[in-house]
């Protein structure tokens, strides 16, 4: 989904604010949320968890601290899976508890193809220009852009599939290099590159490498 989480390239967000001598957790509840997610990761679906965060209301996402994202994602999944009800949660919280939005109707995911890599290191590739409504780890800012494969990472479960279905299977993941000018136009720096790691379904061969 083209959600608020997909921040790469957005303007107008202001300076990066660095907190001096920052503690690992800013409040006890942050440590509890961290433990609730990480301590019980086995058997959990990280892809569905990320997608639950991505479905947060954009205004809530941008104005809440980081671990509130985790808390919202966790609470949303617990309600969607019937562990607790929204009424029970609000009773325990003592008030309104904002949750993520529901998953829209989605087409059935395409199962993983093959774990054998289709692209060699050095291959010119183009990122597929698709905009799925479900979860994906392909950032918007590289879609339709040309890059070069620089690394094979092995084969892994595909987030686009695993967030939504119990389908097994893995697809190759590649490190892909993009020239900044391919991504951002001629005003971008000449001596700047951005590397993004992409599952094979997001890549197609192209004969033309980035002109810049």
């Amino acid at each position: 989904m083209n959600g608020i989480h997909d921040l790469g390239g957005m303007d107008g967000l202001g300076p990066v604010e660095v907190e001096a001598d920052e503690p690992v957790f800013h409040a006890p509840w942050e440590r509890m949320v961290f433990g609730s997610v990480v301590g019980r990761q086995s058997g959990r679906n990280v892809h569905a968890f990320r997608h639950a965060i991505e479905r947060m209301d954009p205004a809530h996402y941008l104005t809440s601290p980081y671990y509130e994202h985790w808390l919202t994602g966790l609470a949303t999944l617990m309600i969607e899976r019937g562990v607790i009800t929204a009424e029970e949660l609000e009773a325990r919280a003592g008030g309104r508890f904002p949750l993520s939005r529901p998953i829209p109707p989605l087409p059935p995911p395409t199962p993983p193809a093959s774990a054998a890599p289709r692209f060699a290191i050095g291959s010119a590739v183009r990122v597929v220009n698709e905009h799925p409504l479900g979860h994906t780890r392909c950032p918007r800012y590289v879609r339709g852009k040309r890059g070069v494969v620089v690394r094979h990472d092995g084969a892994f479960a595909v987030p686009d599939v695993a967030a939504h279905a119990d389908l097994t299977g893995e697809e190759p993941v590649y490190g892909v290099r993009f020239a900044a000018r391919e991504l951002w136009g001629d005003a971008a720096g000449v001596r700047e590159t951005v590397h993004v790691d992409l599952w094979e379904r997001w890549l197609e061969p192209t004969r033309t490498t980035s002109a810049r």
Partner: protein
């Protein structure tokens, strides 16, 4: 910080450095470090003409076993939005003014790999031992927003 010990070892031991760049996860495990968010660590090396910097535009991916949990600024919207779009400007704003002829390589941790920057060994540190060298390496140097 575990990552600083990895960097110091790479600075004093060329064979270790080569192993670290070839297979970061395995070389880091040699020093006893590994675990969640460190299953696939890729180490990228700075040089006089190349500077690397790490970001996760989609969430907060970060190599926990070597760098700990990420600082809030790394997870913040401005850092995630801007580091891929205007790295030279943002690095300058954050205090790292790189010469125009230095190439900047940004690594967006969008899949399974977690990245760590291997900074250049500072000049004038020939007499320092490994522990003293590790003390020169900050977390931010291994994210790529400062140079030691």
């Amino acid at each position: 910080m575990n990552g600083a010990r990895v960097v110091a070892r790479a600075w004093v031991d060329p064979a270790y450095r080569a192993r670290l760049l070839a297979d970061g996860t395995a070389a880091i495990a040699e020093l006893g470090f590994g675990g969640p968010e460190g299953e696939h660590i890729v180490v990228v090396e700075n040089g006089p003409a190349v500077h690397n910097v790490v970001v996760c535009t989609l969430c907060s991916c970060y190599p926990w076993p070597v760098l700990g949990l990420p600082p809030t600024w790394y997870k913040s919207a401005p850092y995630r939005a801007r580091m891929v779009r205007e790295p030279r400007v943002l690095l300058r704003e954050m205090g790292l003014d790189l010469p125009e002829d230095v190439e900047i390589r940004v690594w967006d941790s969008s899949a399974e790999s977690r990245y760590m920057v291997l900074p250049e060994r500072p000049a004038g540190t020939e007499s320092l031992d490994e522990a003293a060298l590790a003390a020169l390496v900050s977390r931010d140097a291994m994210i790529g927003t400062v140079r030691p």
